[in-house]
């Protein structure tokens, strides 16, 4: 929610006395630079004719890299380059066949939101499902954590945890906020935290 308390005098816009000279017909107002919609927010608006597989893969890679650019100021350049590399590997034409799903940007956005919630996260092994959603896997000696990132900030997770020679399985789904709590409550957060190497 936004609000603006009574702004101080210096914040109030000064309307010039010659207000009559301002053209109030909005259709005559100067036009903004028309940034094609696909390079701002809505990449889906681009229509490319006769796309082949390589072109569609490039478009998908490009779409996801634009999403990464939107959080670029919140992650390190190493983490960003690593994400680029994983995307290039997942969407490589050599391992892809016609008819396979591309990565759904809305699923990838959920993953990026998760990443900004856990900036100390160590590298996940990213995979994609045949529904086009992305999943991340983290393995430790204590077990395996898999999170499938669904569109609109939803997730599905499965955990296998070893305890006293027995393996316990847990599954959970919900919104990212719940995931945060689920991971903390079960002490799973430490499974994907980056371990800082002490300086020699």
């Amino acid at each position: 929610m936004f609000y603006c308390y009574q702004p101080s005098e210096q914040h109030l816009a000064k309307i010039p006395a010659n207000v009559g000279e301002i053209d109030h017909d909005a259709t005559n107002r100067p036009q903004n630079i028309d940034i094609p919609k696909d390079i701002t927010r809505d990449r889906a608006s681009i229509i490319t004719l006769d796309e082949n597989l390589e072109e569609r893969l490039f478009s998908n890679r490009s779409e996801l890299k634009v999403l990464i650019s939107q959080i670029a100021m919140h992650i390190s350049s190493i983490a960003r380059q690593d994400l680029f590399k994983q995307i290039d590997e997942l969407l490589d034409a050599d391992g892809f066949s016609e008819g396979e799903s591309l990565i759904a940007p809305k699923s990838f956005s959920t993953f990026l939101k998760f990443l900004t919630l856990h900036p100390q996260m160590r590298r996940a092994a990213l995979t994609m499902t045949n529904m086009g959603t992305v999943g991340g896997t983290w393995r430790t000696e204590a077990g395996k954590l898999y999170i499938e990132f669904l569109p609109y900030g939803k997730y599905r997770t499965s955990v296998s945890r070893k305890e006293n020679d027995e393996t316990e399985y847990l599954a959970h789904e919900g919104s990212l906020k719940k995931l945060h709590k689920f991971l903390s409550d079960n002490n799973f957060s430490s499974w994907f935290q980056r371990v800082e190497t002490p300086a020699p």
């Binding site: 903004n32 094609p36 490039f58």
Partner: protein, 250 residues
């Protein structure tokens, strides 16, 4: 307006920067292809026959999406951080975050512009502009947190008491020095980052009258825009915003 030296922030909020030139007469199909042919070595991927829905216009009845379909070319580098868009009526260079600085964007645009001039020397121009879209991510504890816009931006929005503001958009036209103008828009936006509220500071700085003809004079005007942009940005943001831009990246 006094010149402001840009401060290198640790987390610059710029999400996209664009330099654009509008042409007085549309480029013909063969000219478009020739320009792309000359530029293609600098880019990784070329989208041909790209049809774009480009315009958003303000009307008396509010914001309206105006569809202006144009067919042209989009050239992207491998990381999709640098783009060149060659349309019949305009040429532009765009850079996405993380912003690599003005010099890189300007060099990209200069190349596009000089190539266009070589192919189509006779084209006049109708507008020189650059647009800078910043998104300020303001940490919040939860969705019910309130953000005072005036803490982060030097703009005033005075509402009747007791109203529940879910979002806002402000549009200001400014007259700047030497015939330049600016359209500054600030608005709330859907947050991209968890536990933040986002506000946009979008600055489009341009000149569309008494336009130069010579190549170096056109590029000189573009350089002037850089300084105007830095100055405007610093005037619009507050110290609370600057503190956000200077946080360490984890």
């Amino acid at each position: 307006m006094s010149e402001v030296i840009p401060i290198p922030y640790k987390r610059p909020p710029l999400t996209e920067a664009v330099i654009e030139l509008r042409l007085s007469k549309p480029l013909e199909d063969k000219e478009l292809k020739k320009i792309v042919e000359k530029l293609k070595e600098r880019y990784f991927f070329i989208h041909e026959n790209v049809v774009m829905d480009v315009a958003t216009a303000l009307t008396n009845s509010g914001i309206r999406q105006q569809t202006k379909m144009e067919r042209g070319f989009k050239l992207e580098n491998a990381d999709t951080q640098s783009l060149a868009i060659i349309m019949p009526n305009s040429i532009l260079a765009s850079a996405l975050a993380p912003y690599q600085g003005w010099d890189k964007l300007f060099a990209d645009f200069s190349e596009i512009f000089k190539t266009t001039r070589k192919v189509s020397d006779s084209r006049g121009i109708t507008r020189i502009g650059a647009r800078f879209i910043n998104r300020i991510d303001i940490p919040v504890s939860d969705e019910t947190s309130s953000i005072n816009i005036a803490d982060y931006l030097n703009v005033g929005l005075h509402l009747p008491q007791g109203l529940h503001c879910k979002g806002y958009e402000l549009y200001v036209e400014l007259a700047l020095d030497e015939g330049f103008q600016a359209i500054v828009r600030t608005a709330s936006a859907n947050p991209t980052v968890a536990y933040t509220a986002a506000t946009i500071l979008d600055m489009d700085i341009f000149i569309d009258k008494e336009l130069p003809v010579k190549e170096e004079d056109i590029l000189d005007r573009i350089t002037k825009i850089r300084h105007l942009k830095n100055s405007l940005f610093e005037q619009f943001v507050t110290n609370a915003s600057r503190a956000l831009f200077n946080r360490e990246v984890a």
